[in-house]
């Protein structure tokens, strides 16, 4: 089964680094630099997991999260952000985020968490 991951971050360097990291682990990876592009990619690329930044120009990560979850409830969304306030975390969880990882992050943890989400999907949960 192909593992498909969408990385959404307004910083191109971060997208490129994570893309290369996950491609080395046999993921098919797409990237997007803003909310609108992310929604488009979710529809077209049909990823299992989305890594979603919060602070982005235009539609922010939380609004994007809501739209993804409204239209594609099966897609797992992991918030990956430098924003670490209780309100943001709670709001993300309320909107259905599947995890909330703050930057800087441990690559080992990120990899494990993405794999966990893939495994959950495989089990049909």
């Amino acid at each position: 089964m192909t593992k498909k991951l969408l990385i959404v971050d307004d910083e191109a360097e971060i997208c490129e680094f994570l893309k290369s990291f996950f491609e080395d682990r046999d993921f098919k990876v797409a990237t997007a630099h803003n909310g609108a592009a992310a929604l488009e990619q979710v529809a077209r690329f049909e990823p299992e997991v989305v890594l979603l930044d919060i602070q982005m120009p235009g539609m922010d990560g939380l609004q994007t999260l809501k739209k993804i979850k409204d239209n594609h409830p099966k897609v797992k969304v992991i918030m990956v952000t430098a924003v670490e306030t209780q309100e943001k975390i709670e709001e993300a969880m309320r909107l259905g985020a599947d995890n909330y990882i703050t930057k800087p992050l441990s690559l080992e943890y990120l990899e494990k968490d993405v794999q966990d989400k893939i495994d959950l999907l495989a089990k049909g949960t």
């Binding site: 490129e16 994570l18 930057k103 800087p104 690559l107």
Partner: protein, 424 residues
């Protein structure tokens, strides 16, 4: 061939020279982030690497974060961290004491070699797991060489070097050079951290000092207010002259102004406090003496005179009022040296005390006391003039009477005795 050799020599650089430059920059640059940038950029240019990165211990977050990265395959800042239990951190933290400094670095190729040996021996132990994790992590970051920097046995920084673009290996000399740089970076980061802590501690101390000063001044103010009401209390014992304190203050300030005394800054407050508090020591004089209707005996006078020292003592806790205490101590000294308690004369008595002596006596004469009725303004003025040069400073007496005349002129009731005083 010789031409090629020349080219090679030209490409080489003087390591010592570079290290001296770095050391100089360290001293010059207060901000270590600039030095760190300088070092990574330098390495990137000189050695032609795919990328260089520096990982530094963040003591607040208890993890290692990337502070800089250079090169075509550079790492994004602020994305990746190493927790203190990360296998690479563990490797250098644990092995640091065991390994001699010459070996204190790690090539990806060496990790691979060690792993193949471990596999060869079928050793499935924690060391093998650790090496595997290290290999994965180095491959994730596309790092060929790791060089640690320590500060007092703590792993502070980790220099990460990518693949050499021309495919050549690093020489021992180059690795030693990297070790020195990694060490310098760690030192710079630690020093800056230390400086920052000192600055913060300093700020905190200053804040506390200000707080203490604020509390102290508040306390002094409270004490002053208590003293003021005590001073009122002393005179309230004699109900006829309620308001003596504020009247003496008014007359005293008026005289000082007439004399042209500079009342800017806290001089005014000190004089005003001395005028208000001059008799506060009377609180310690028994009522039968203080309010005795009639002449005091010699013994009673002795007790009465102690109000000067008593007043000074009461004010001791007011450290801001040292000067006020001295004034109060001297307000019964006389210009000719016949006063008490010390028999000071002329300029030995402070100007404030000389002013109090005049206005206090004057107001005492015009006020009713428990032992007699208040006397006329004429008589009081006459009395003050009679004592000018003996009990009182003539300059003060002149100024006081001039000021008094000005005031009475406004009311249109100048007594004849004041005629000779010219009012400008």
């Amino acid at each position: 061939m010789p031409k090629n050799a020349d080219l090679l020599t030209a490409r080489k650089f003087d390591y010592q020279e570079v290290l001296r430059d770095v050391a100089r920059s360290m001293v010059r640059l207060k901000r270590p982030d600039r030095l760190v940038k300088l070092i990574t950029r330098f390495i990137d240019r000189q050695f032609g690497l795919s990328h260089t990165a520096l990982l530094v211990l963040d003591p607040k977050k208890e993890c290692y974060v990337f502070v800089n990265s250079k090169g075509s395959k550079r790492l994004p800042m602020g994305l990746v961290k190493f927790d203190t239990n990360h296998p690479i951190v563990q490797w250098f933290s644990g092995s640091q004491k065991k390994l001699p400094i010459q070996k204190d670095y790690l090539f990806l190729s060496d990790v691979k070699k060690m792993l193949s040996r471990a596999e060869f021996r079928m050793a499935s132990n924690s060391k093998g797991d650790q090496l595997l994790a290290i290999q994965r992590s180095m491959q994730n970051l596309k790092v060929e060489l790791l060089v640690p920097g320590y500060f007092k046995d703590t792993l502070v920084g980790l220099l990460m070097l990518g693949r050499r673009v021309n495919g050549r290996c690093f020489t021992t000399q180059e690795v030693t050079f990297f070790q020195t740089l990694a060490h310098d970076c760690s030192m710079a980061v630690k020093t800056a951290e230390h400086n920052q802590n000192l600055i913060e501690q300093n700020r905190e101390l200053e804040r506390r000092l200000q707080e203490i000063e604020r509390m102290r001044s508040k306390e002094q103010k409270t004490y002053y207010e208590i003293m003021r009401s005590l001073a009122e209390e002393v005179h309230a014992k004699e109900p006829y002259i309620f308001g003596h304190v504020s009247e003496v203050e008014r007359l005293g300030m008026m005289t000082a102004r007439e004399m042209g005394i500079d009342l800017s800054g806290n001089t005014k407050d000190l004089l005003s406090a001395a005028l208000i508090l001059h008799d506060v020591g009377k609180i310690g004089i028994p009522d039968n003496i203080l309010c005795k209707p009639g002449q005091l005996t010699q013994e009673e006078w002795r007790v009465m005179k102690t109000h000067v020292e008593k007043g000074a003592r009461i004010l001791e806790p007011l450290t801001d009022f040292k000067r006020v205490r001295e004034i109060i101590m001297a307000h019964h000294e006389q210009f000719d040296g016949t006063g008490y308690p010390r028999g000071l004369k002329g300029d030995e008595i402070s100007i404030e005390a000389r002013i109090i002596a005049v206005v206090d006596s004057f107001h005492a004469i015009v006020s009713s006391r428990c032992y007699r009725e208040g006397r006329s303004l004429d008589l009081a003025i006459q009395e003050v003039r009679n004592c000018s040069g003996t009990q009182f400073d003539p300059v003060v007496v002149d100024a006081f009477l001039r000021a008094l005349k000005k005031e009475l002129l406004k009311k249109g009731e100048v007594p004849g005795v004041l005629k000779e005083y010219s009012v400008s």
